[in-house]
């Protein structure tokens, strides 16, 4: 395997090019060449034992910490990753790559197709969580890292962490799985479908070929984001944050302006999202989550894996108010691992912030992640 590395100064990101790799996807399609945009934080130690892969969620990217040049804001998990943060970059070498099918520099629908000057658009092959993980494993390999100390992720990132435990258990020591599940539920698929329909019914979308006229299906994509954003919060959190408070007015307008603060907030979320995210990528990545299903197979895969996985440690975390990936889903993973006598820890954190809790201020989450990593790292360092 030959991998070229470059730095994209505009994206402030490393890019790994995999050429003539013939990556076979779960769908059967093959990608000859692809690239992954990634960032690293901290330093790899001499024994290469301190590497951690952080997997981003649906609309995340490789900018875990520091500046994100696309949004001009701080990285999405800068409160968790950095010097003296729970995932301490004084101690660990943190890698995060934009997923295959993403839109922050990795090969995805908005990138040019091999040897052509036209973007993939709707011709991009269907990618799955398994495919994303396979691409990540090639990246890790090309960085000459044999073993990862940990794979960490929330939501879609948790799906990737679980997939690592299934496909490459011999290359990792533990996973931290936050607000995830063995499968994407019917309700979750339903919400994604509404989001996709919003994008596809925008006349600008044009079967995914909107880029030909340099246009963006802004309306569809922003509605998709607004729907999704509701599912990331909880009723209590919304009530606490907005209640029925009016936006920049004292009385209701008897019209369809954003009278309420919650409306104004959702409109803002939708609007800012279209500036940073590709509509086609959103279709592909939501689909990848929908296809994720280890409900029937997880236990079997762990028990009868041809890769040794007895050594793996699991930290599973859920949140009381997360109705997208409720605690019961996490407990199913815990039950199956306990029935196989695997080393698993589980905590349900009490919060009203909903699914998004993993991105927000939750001291108990910080404590368990920091402690789990530090103490388990001390054990291999002995």
């Amino acid at each position: 395997m030959k991998t070229k590395f470059t730095t994209d100064t505009k994206l402030e990101s490393e890019i790994a090019y995999f050429e003539n790799i013939n990556l076979k996807l779960e769908s059967g399609d093959i990608i000859d060449n692809f690239k992954l945009a990634f960032k690293t934080y901290g330093k790899l130690n001499a024994d290469k034992t301190n590497a951690i892969l952080v997997c981003h969620a649906l609309t995340g990217d490789q900018y875990v910490a520091g500046n994100n040049p696309i949004t001009g804001r701080e990285g999405w998990w800068s409160r968790m990753v950095g010097p003296n943060k729970p995932i301490d970059t004084h101690k660990f070498f943190v890698i995060c790559s934009n997923v295959l099918g993403g839109c922050a520099g990795s090969t995805g629908p908005k990138e040019l197709r091999n040897g052509s000057d036209v973007a993939y658009g709707g011709n991009f092959p269907s990618v799955t969580i398994k495919d994303m993980v396979k691409a990540q494993s090639l990246l890790i390999e090309s960085l000459n890292i044999e073993n990862l100390f940990s794979v960490i992720g929330g939501s879609m990132g948790a799906m990737q962490a679980l997939q690592w435990a299934i496909d490459f258990p011999d290359k990792i020591l533990n996973i931290i799985h936050i607000a995830g599940a063995l499968k994407h539920s019917a309700q979750n698929i339903a919400f994604h479908e509404v989001g996709r329909q919003a994008i596809m019914s925008d006349p600008i979308w044009k079967n995914g070929k909107y880029f030909e006229n340099n246009e963006v299906p802004e309306r569809g994509l922003s509605v998709a984001r607004m729907i999704a954003h509701i599912t990331y919060l909880s009723e209590n959190a919304m009530h606490r944050k907005f209640g029925r408070k009016l936006q920049s007015r004292d009385i209701i307008s008897f019209g369809f302006d954003a009278d309420f603060q919650v409306e104004s907030y959702l409109r803002y979320q939708g609007k800012s999202f279209v500036e940073r995210f590709d509509a086609n990528s959103y279709l592909y990545l939501t689909r990848a989550m929908d296809y994720f299903d280890h409900d029937e197979t997880f236990r079997k895969n762990i028990e009868f894996s041809h890769n040794p996985n007895n050594h793996l440690k699991y930290l599973i975390v859920s949140f009381t108010s997360d109705w997208l990936f409720p605690t019961i889903e996490s407990k199913m993973i815990v039950n199956q691992l306990n029935s196989l006598s695997r080393e698993v820890s589980f905590l349900e954190i009490d919060t009203d912030k909903g699914h998004d809790s993993f991105l927000l201020e939750e001291p108990q989450l910080d404590d368990v992640i920091k402690g789990f990593l530090t103490n388990n790292f001390a054990k291999i360092d002995e």
């Binding site: 299934i166 079997k300 009868f304 041809h306 820890s345 589980f346 349900e348 954190i349």
Partner: protein, 227 residues
């Protein structure tokens, strides 16, 4: 490695009942104090269950395998005979169904270690006799209406239950309220009167691991696809 001294008297006694290099489940493990002691002093592999969220979080942050959950609901997920010892310390009297829990302990573990405060202790008997009110003592410090201890029992009651369930008492240690230690099985008189706290090592009669015979061939290496 330096031995860790027990924080609690019953922990040091529990440690004496446990052999080296064993796999242990600690039910109601708190922040992992006993697990730490057994990992350090007995080279044990430990797992724990803790109902209290903050204690479970502390234990996980200290690096222990701890599941935040309710033993009365969550023990069923563990496979038969998957631990060498299952420890239930000072909790049996707080369980909804102590008998079911006891049989679960010996399903999951080859051996169980159970400790509990003895309701037959003379101070408790005396309090009830003289005051006519539910006793409140150092080891049972709650008033009747807000106590987590919903099933009071004495050493005699426990011995009867074990007998009924075909459970063998391999070892039994009693502690007086002044911390004096004795062997319950060797003491003839007054055990149920003077024992303040009791610790039992339990197993099943004629226990042999269940051997599963299968007509199917055992999986050959590499024959199962991981996806």
């Amino acid at each position: 490695m330096n031995k860790i001294n027990s924080i609690r008297k019953d922990w040091s006694l529990i440690e004496t009942l446990i052999a080296e290099d064993r796999k242990i489940l600690d039910i109601g493990c708190g922040d992992g104090g006993l697990m730490e002691q057994l990992e350090n002093n007995r080279n044990a592999i430990t797992h724990g269950i803790e109902l209290n969220r903050d204690l479970a979080a502390n234990a996980i942050a200290r690096g222990f395998n701890v599941v935040h959950g309710n033993a009365e609901l969550d023990l069923s997920q563990y496979s038969n005979n998957s631990f060498d010892y299952v420890i239930l310390s000072q909790t049996l009297q707080a369980m909804m169904k102590p008998k079911d829990i006891l049989s679960e302990l010996l399903r999951i573990g080859s051996k169980a270690i159970v400790s509990f405060p003895n309701f037959g202790h003379w101070k408790i008997r005396l309090q009830l006799l003289i005051s006519g009110k539910m006793p409140v003592t150092e080891s049972l410090p709650y008033t009747w209406y807000d106590t987590p201890n919903i099933h009071f029992f004495t050493i005699k009651d426990f011995l009867n239950l074990c007998n009924e369930m075909n459970i063998v008492i391999e070892k039994s240690i009693g502690l007086t309220s002044k911390g004096k230690q004795f062997d319950i099985s060797e003491s003839v008189t007054g055990v149920n009167f003077f024992t303040h706290e009791a610790i039992f090592l339990l197993s099943y009669k004629n226990y042999e691991p269940v051997k599963i015979k299968s007509s199917k061939k055992v999986f050959a290496k590499n024959s199962v696809i991981a996806n």
